[in-house]
Amino acid sequence: MTEESKYRDKFPAKNPDGTNKIDLDSHKFIKVWQGPNHPGITGNMSLELDLQGDEVMQCKTHVGYLHRGFEKLMERRRFIQCFPICVRIAVPEPDFNEYCLSASFEELAGIEIPEAAKWMRTLLLEMSRLQSFLMWMGGQAGSFGIGVVGQWTNYARDLVLDRFEEISGGRIYHMHMTPGGVRGLPPTGFENRMEETLQTIEEIMKDVKDTLFDNTIFKKRSIGLGVIKPEMVEPYGITGPNARAAGIPKDVRKDYPYLKYPELDFDVLTAENSDAYTRAELRRQEIHMTIDLIRQIMAKMPQSGDYMAKVPNVLHWQIPRGETYVRAECTRGEYGYYTVTDGSGYPRRINVRGPSYTHAVALMEKMAIDVNIADTAGLMVSLHTYPPEIER
């Protein structure tokens, strides 16, 4: 408990469950909506904040500005027709959706994808992680007023998107993993260009380290902000860097190995005392780990070979009744698809688990309390949430 909050013990009054008692009519509180259009909100979402002075007494997450009903939509699409849809569930990280969707169909249909496709998918997932972290880094810096970092890291991200464009023909929505495999291997010369990109990013990350992580302003504002205690991890369903920064070594890549991760050399990164700074630092290290993983993949990946399994005619493809949950480690934690099939040509139900579902709602609502309104954006970003995956 901070020094100040001691004085507040008497006011505001507490509800029996320990939450603050908010009485707007008392004129001692003010209600502020942060979002849905707000640079500190990572997407279309809003926080309904009840403030006392400039501190948050109560926070409610509101979503619904971007509900596209994708889960339902996919119940009315042939299996092959789902992959162009699923990418849009988490805009900055479409590839994890592509992977989970395809892998769940393949598992239920009993299809084994070729080796080269597995490598390719692993590569795409790590590239996706890299670009997403880079974008996040800019967002985190920007939410604490250090805008220049965003300029650099978004440039770095663009370079990764160039590589995506080379492989898949798309920058944002790659749609390169389809049920049965992938749509192609990297073009000739890709390896060199990828390496060049990685080196540029490493250079940029040096500047980011100097400018952001060794920066008084950032440190002052982020250290001690939004601490996630290890005992919160289970009740709040916390995964990914948010959990790892609290010392809980959860990483789907290690815990439930998939694709080619068992053949890659990496450790689960953890830290102590998950506050905004620690989490940022952990993610900075993750960027370097991802760069290393991409190098490993490029070195081990086959240059040729089959990359698409034989699938039935996709117009008539039916998958026997079954259900499965397929997960992957995205930048923010556990991403997963719970897929149910009923023997017809359409999925019966697809439920998408994005980490933001827990991080941006129950967790954010708790963490925001007692935070200065100027820091809520920074706090929210430090949880690394992508609202579109909450409402899907």
Partner: protein, 594 residues
Amino acid sequence: MNLKDLFKPFTAWKNLLAEPVPIKKPLERQGAPRYRGFHKNDLEKCIGCGTCEEICQNAAIDMVPVEGEETEEGDSGLRPRIDYGRCCWCALCVDICTTGSLTMSNQFQWIDSDPDVFRFVPGADEKYWDDEELGYKKPDNYELNNLDRIEMEEMEPEKRNHTFLEIVKGFSKEQAIQEADRCVECGICIATCPAHMGIPSYIKAIRKGDVEEGLRIMYETNPLPEVCGRVCTHKCETVCAMQHRGEPISIRWLKRYIADQVSLDKYQEIMGTDNLEKREEKVAIIGAGPAGLSASYYLAMMGYNVKIFEALEKPGGMTRYGIPEYRLPYEELDKDVEYIKSLGVEFQFNTKVGEDITLEEIHKDFDAVFAGTGLHLGRSTKIPGAEHEKCYQAVDLLREFTQGKEIEVAERIVVIGGGNVAMDISRTLARLQNKQYGQVQLVTTSLESEDIMPADEEEIIESREEGITLKPGWGPKEIKVEDGKVKGLKVIKCLSVFDNEGRFNPKFDQSENDFFAGDMVIEAIGQGMDISYMEDVELTERHKVKVDENYQSSKPWLFVGGDIVKGPDAISAIADGHKAAQGIDNYLSSKGEK
């Protein structure tokens, strides 16, 4: 607070003089070679099958008529129009395109204030990227269609050229479903089928495992599915959308699969024909070939009393007396006929109209007549020696063999003809030679060179496999006869068969000749008809019976169809019979009203 942390961020100033990174001329930025930009469509290649529309989960595609693209067999004349207000650039349409005509350019920059211009027909509406080489194409080794046929098991050549047992084994259920799975359900094939069978629908029934439904669909347009499932000329397969990048769907074998699965005793129940409503009128059918059988089936379904007069002792026409048993076992033909019989159609065999009964006599007893008497007179080359008794007509031999008559089989045989009939007689005789002499010594020669031989490719391949020597590109000059015995066939080089206008007008090189030794010669160069039983009906310039689109002749009560009107195959005869049945129904119904 750490002093270092105060000053470290200022190291960023070093970037002040760094070269800026933004793209200088964004409008000139090129998309990557695989970029998924605006679509391109090679209109010549595209067949308007609509598979792209079917796969598009955004409903971004409409199939629309396009100026300059004609509707013709194998091409609907429609072309995809894409609404970029909906397109998400997923390129599924490109991946699934049956012809590979649809691709994408790497161009993505196009600004306009009129939203409607973003809906256009790629390839037809000119765009600046039409000639752009780069852009997304369906990657090799990445295939959403199944291009290869499920292989059909056949009896090996060494075994089959000794026997008349059926060569083709037919699909198992699993194979049939796999083959049916390949169909993209575009329906392009329907127009080409002379009977316009509901091909994609019965293929779908196979996929669903519902052969009974499949049987019902087939009978809507074809009452001889066992026959056609084996010997149909399968023109539909020549236009199948899948043949552009792969092999066409085995439509014929799938049809056979359905018919083979259902036993005859279930037919009436499945098709709900156990209790047909009867009508007063009587219709006579002359000839129990495919045309006559088809007409009688559809007339019986409409409740008419139908009676068939047939010259020979069994039904089927050329499908029995022409087509050899190894291609169409008699019991399969009988199955189709038995079902028609079960609907109350009466058969009177061994009755040749014009000899045993006149057409006029029939007309007295019946309200309408359908004649489908086919082509049964073999045509002769009329070369010297052709009148020799050891020079036979293919159709005669085939008929006699079917009737169980003893036919002559020489040790060395020459067959003249390059069509399927020539192949049938050659392969039949080869089997008999094997039985009698333990070897095949048979030369089959045709005017046409191999590339334009009218026989099906598979017939040519299989004939060779069975030991027959093919000599394409020779014109018969004389049958050499010595001491009253046939010695063989003298031939001269045939340079071309058709003239510039495409008319039959063969050119020969007299200086190049050859001789094929043989003790017997068979002519298989075509058949003619005998319609002397029809008196004063109008004929066309080409000496065929003149009929209108309902197959009604110049005598209103007489309808004519099948080989004597059009030909050339069973399914055309079946289609004729069906249309004539409808014509007869119209005729009798309107007569009744008057």
